[in-house]
Symmetry: C2
């Protein structure tokens, strides 16, 4: 095996992923310190607000003078919640810095590289850059204009249904597929479903993984119709349920009850602004960098109509309902030519026993 | 590499597959003659009515005295279109005969083994038996009671549609998936579509592969409605188009025209017997051992309702119509619980670029 730059960068990328769900809206970052082909230190950005990956890797390293540091994202050069990482790298007398990709944050981009070079450190940028960009696609989108990254998840039958005619949908997909959904619930900062899904399913929208981080539970409740004994209200112990409401409902009796007793958070819009695009924008401004959209039909249809998704995964079960009254995952269009069909791009398949996952992106 | 019995049997199985589409309703058979770990001869049953695999392999072998013959199916012991293979094996002074699986044909089963053993030849049965059974699932089903093997093929969008609202369906799946369909058209002896599919699509139902063997084109034309300029009538140069008609249509003017001028073949039933089950039975009695069913909606729905399929493959394209007026691959049921859904078994996935094939069997 050739222990080259790609090898160590790949290690740093793998390390970085351990921070999934814990660092939003910060980026995922991993770092490895290497001297004479020996790893002196390795680390990642573990929790929002704590040490950056470079610092964790350097803290672990003994005698790192003359070493090479591999870091998936350009080290920061500005004072944030923690001191600039470039200062620490310079201080440790690192000889060479290998970077996956530049930081898209205008506060940092290129400055880190410049400061390192000025200190006489050799800098290489762009090793496994594609993987490094993919790792932080959420961060890279959100930093631009606070628009959250939208990931679509849908569990469907072979005939494209998400529920039977009586709206029962437990369980279309198998346990392996449902476990992957839990992975997404941990990875993305918010989970979003439509009003109907809450009213029909009374879901808890939490993450059942070990060492989980529950997402913010976001739904539209324009007119405050969701009963207070529903799980997302009654079980809001972590105060992470957010309702999108109509402006005129502010300070209504139910609003005050939900706010004060159940600690529900609110994002409000004018009636005329109730489009998903504006709702997502507001959720982004609230500080949520990524949204896992779990349906239902109406929400998914609006997302495709307005081209609002960044990526997603359809989980297909080998089941068939064959019932025109069952609930399709998408509806409301009148495509008369196959060429007019919505076409999913960058398709990739994942196997989950007898279920298949179809991953796609814009 | 260990050149054991499984190795040579696997070679014989691979060889056998070369006969696909050419030997129906005979079984696919492959044979390898081996002495001192050296292959003396290898062959397969190439064309219906010609030499069996054992004979082809032995004809190629020089000095096969004391050799082992591997054959995927029990050698025949009765006089058919060709002399019994066991006689030839005995005559060649073969020492050992390794067999994939016994012949289910009551005329042969066990007799071949017995005759070989009586001649002092060592016989081993059951090497890669599962693969040998799978290889000839068509033959094994058909030999029992002349019921043809039913294979279902369907190209669908992610929302389970086979055509847009105006019935246009070119092309839902990609070229790789469509090439696999051509493979099936060569493999199975007949291709079957419903009247609507013929009337809407005017398909040719031929096989476009090189060295192809076109399947029998079978459709229901109860009341002889298909126009004579349609491809399956006008292009019936090989005289392999079969219409399922109502008994009373026999000797009608159009019947005589189709029969005499266009060489259409007919299978006729009483009005009351127009079920797919009876139609398939009649097709089997006609001598067709296997049917590739290519739709449309009404035929597929009847097949699931009556549990008539043996296996199949759904080709799923990453396209979405989202149109309730587009044509679903199956319809007419009223499942109100997920547990009532048709569940496909023995699922296996095949990748065709951005299309996925979901193989299943009963």
């Amino acid at each position: 095996m050739d222990f080259n730059d790609s090898y160590y960068m790949n290690l740093a990328l793998t390390e970085a992923r351990k921070g999934e769900g814990k660092v939003n809206p910060n980026p995922l970052v991993g770092a490895v310190v290497v001297k004479n082909n020996k790893i002196l230190g390795i680390g990642y950005h573990e929790v929002y607000g704590s040490h950056h990956a470079e610092v964790n890797a350097l803290n672990m390293s003994k005698n790192s003078e003359g070493a090479t540091i591999y870091v998936t994202l350009e080290p920061c050069s500005h004072q944030g919640k923690t001191p600039p990482c470039v200062d620490r790298i310079i201080q440790e007398k690192i000889k060479k810095c290998v970077i996956g990709t530049l930081d898209p944050n205008p506060l940092v981009s290129g400055n880190g590289v410049k400061k390192l070079q000025e200190a006489g450190i050799e800098v290489i940028v762009g090793i496994l850059e594609e993987e490094a960009l993919k790792l932080n696609e959420v961060f890279f989108k959100y930093i631009k204009n606070k628009n959250p990254y939208i990931f679509l998840k849908c569990g469907i039958t072979l005939d494209g249904k998400i529920a039977t005619r009586d709206f029962s949908s437990k369980w279309i997909t198998n346990s392996l597929a449902r476990e992957k959904v839990q992975y997404y619930r941990n990875k993305f900062m918010g989970i979003f479903v439509g009003t109907n899904t809450v009213l029909k399913d009374n879901p808890s929208l939490t993450c059942t993984l070990e060492n989980k981080r529950d997402p913010f539970r976001i739904t539209i409740d324009k007119n405050l119709e969701i009963p207070i004994d529903y799980k997302i209200i009654a079980n809001n112990f972590d105060e992470k349920t957010i309702f999108i409401i109509e402006n005129s409902k502010i300070n209504s009796e139910k609003y005050n009850l939900l706010k004060n007793k159940y600690k529900i958070k609110f994002i409000s819009l004018d009636e005329k602004d109730f489009s998903l695009e504006k709702i997502f924008k507001k959720v982004g401004e609230f500080g949520i960098d990524s949204i896992l959209v779990e349906g239902g039909s109406s929400i998914i249809s609006q997302i495709f109509e307005n081209n609002l998704y960044d990526s997603g995964e359809f989980f297909i079960a080998p089941k068939i309902l064959g019932d025109e009254k069952s609930i399709p995952f998408i509806n409301g269009f009148s495509k008369s030519k196959i060429d007019e069909a919505f076409k999913l791009n960058n398709v990739k398949f994942n196997l989950y026993g007898d279920n298949i996952g179809l991953e796609f992106s814009k």
